[in-house]
């Protein structure tokens, strides 16, 4: 096989072989519809409950507070749209941040068209929201605060517990997009005052096309996909049994390995960051140095354009991203990098590398060496660079 160093684990991860193993019987053997009455299929209902239980256990939640969805985007859309509709009588104001994933931001735009008002909090140069600005933004008619747990581009981890506390002091619901955080940092929904949390299976070595939304008991949000009585009547559609089994197994695995795995990732991450900072001029680490996802490395290199950089890295077997993979269809520079104050052309030359437990120091060395060479080539070709 050709050399491949996969450093795009924030975009998606390899489904763990043990997860696939767990899923397999549910395709061709235990394929029954869990809503059915006969034992062969009804057993799947308990299998699903078991997966719910595992995830709830990890979050310190109740089993019946976990609702399966088709992924992080659906969870985000559901949380926002359905909560907005359910609490419309109380008010129509929502607070979020400028650095949310598009699944949040575009849903907010949609809600704005439907008569809701959205406040987008600024972030500082490390990507943190300002708790005082948050406090000041809360109004009589504020119904929801949605702030992501950890950012997918720059890896910054928000002070979630304080945000939750402020929300609850003011009687406002708190949703957090935990897609990047789940499985990477410990989460406790009670201590952190989280009312809703989105997650997506394929971000923690589970399968694609499955996610969940945690909804605290008592939160009155209606369903987003209407139809059958699945998921306590809140999310219609024949249950994706193999997917649910997969996300259950992946969640358990992520929780079990978290401490050791993230310690290793952190070490390689910091090694990589320090080599780049020492050896490549005109670079800037994006995001915070410590309140940072254990596997996230994000740099801007002046006089370097991102796509070219990625293609050259690809030629050397290195898979990385520039901004969010989801937005690569668009030409706009990353809204996250602009929000932390980078000028347009510098945002353009940024590189995100997100490690996995399989990334070694040797990989890091290979990547940094390749980077040095490529960046030199690109700079020489740039009309902006005069060195």
């Amino acid at each position: 096989m050709e050399k491949r160093i996969y450093l795009d684990n924030a975009a998606t991860t390899k489904t763990a072989p043990e997860v696939v193993e767990a899923m397999l019987p549910y395709f061709t053997e235990h394929y029954g519809n869990p809503s059915s009455i006969y034992g062969f299929a009804a057993a799947n209902k308990e299998v699903i409950t078991g997966c719910r239980e595992k995830i709830a256990g990890i979050l310190g939640a109740k089993t019946e507070e976990i609702y399966f969805t088709a992924g992080g985007s659906e969870s985000d859309n559901w949380a926002l749209v359905a909560a907005a509709e359910a609490y419309a009588a109380k008010g129509k104001h929502i607070i979020t941040s400028r650095i949310e994933h598009h699944a949040i931001l575009h849903t907010c735009e949609y809600l704005e068209k439907r008569g809701y008002e959205v406040t987008y909090l600024d972030v500082d140069e490390a990507g943190f929201i300002d708790l005082e600005q948050l406090r000041a933004a809360i109004r009589e008619d504020t119904i929801l605060i949605s702030i992501m747990f950890a950012n997918n581009e720059i890896g910054t981890i928000q002070p979630v517990e304080q945000i939750g506390q402020i929300a609850h002091e003011h009687g406002v619901l708190f949703h957090t997009d935990g897609v990047q955080a789940f499985g990477q940092v410990p989460i406790c929904v009670d201590e952190m005052h989280i009312d809703m949390l989105s997650a997506s299976g394929h971000k923690f070595n589970g399968p694609k096309g499955i996610g969940f939304l945690y909804i605290r008991k008592g939160v009155k949000i209606r369903s987003f996909i209407h139809g059958g009585a699945q998921e306590r009547k809140r999310r219609a559609g024949t249950e994706n049994v193999p997917g649910i089994v997969g996300i259950g197994a992946a969640a358990e695995r992520a929780a079990r390995t978290m401490e050791e795995r993230t310690a290793r990732e952190r070490e390689v991450r910091d090694y990589m960051i320090s080599r780049i900072e020492k050896e490549i001029p005109y670079c800037r680490l994006n995001g915070d140095r410590t309140m940072r996802l254990p596997n996230n490395v994000n740099f801007s290199f002046r006089f370097v354009e991102g796509e070219s950089l990625l293609i050259r890295l690809d030629r050397k077997g290195i898979c990385a991203s520039s901004g969010s993979a989801c937005t690569s269809g668009s030409l706009d520079p990353s809204h996250v990098l602009l929000a932390i104050g980078l000028p347009h052309e510098i945002a353009h030359g940024s590189l995100r590398m997100t490690l996995s437990e399989e990334t070694t120091k040797e990989d890091a060395d290979y990547v940094v060496d390749a980077l040095k060479e490529i960046i030199q080539i690109q700079r020489e070709m740039s009309p902006l660079y005069e060195d």
């Binding site: 006089f303 354009e305 070219s308 293609i311 030409l331 520079p333 070709m381 740039s382 009309p383």
Partner: protein
Amino acid sequence: MYTEKVMDHFEHPRNVGEIENASGVGTVGNAKCGDIMRIYLDIDENQIIRDVKFKTFGCGAAVATSSMATELVKGKSVQEAMEVTNKAVMEALDGLPPVKVHCSLLAEEAIHAALWDYAEKNGIKIEGLEKPKSDIHEGEEEEEEEY
């Protein structure tokens, strides 16, 4: 996503560099993506493009179209160079993905800007050549959703 030709010109770009005391220099930027391209022309007294160089800060398509465009204009008369449109460049590269068409416009525009510079300096009029805008592609690409 890119054709082999594009990849070839991206990885081995022809005519990278600068020309000192060039007959014409054109620098254009793409407001949409923030990319920048500069073309240097060396034009002899018969209005033949003797040499051409470029520098580009831009995506793979931008680099490849710069490279191909310089190849296409080299040795041509300034009037012939006017026919090196973005379409011609794209064809020579066996096509570009739809989202990258605007990058080839950048190359066309950079050549035009360099020719304009040359024409201005020498008090010449080149048929069909207009004064380059700085922001050439603002709001020009269609939203996919609106078909």
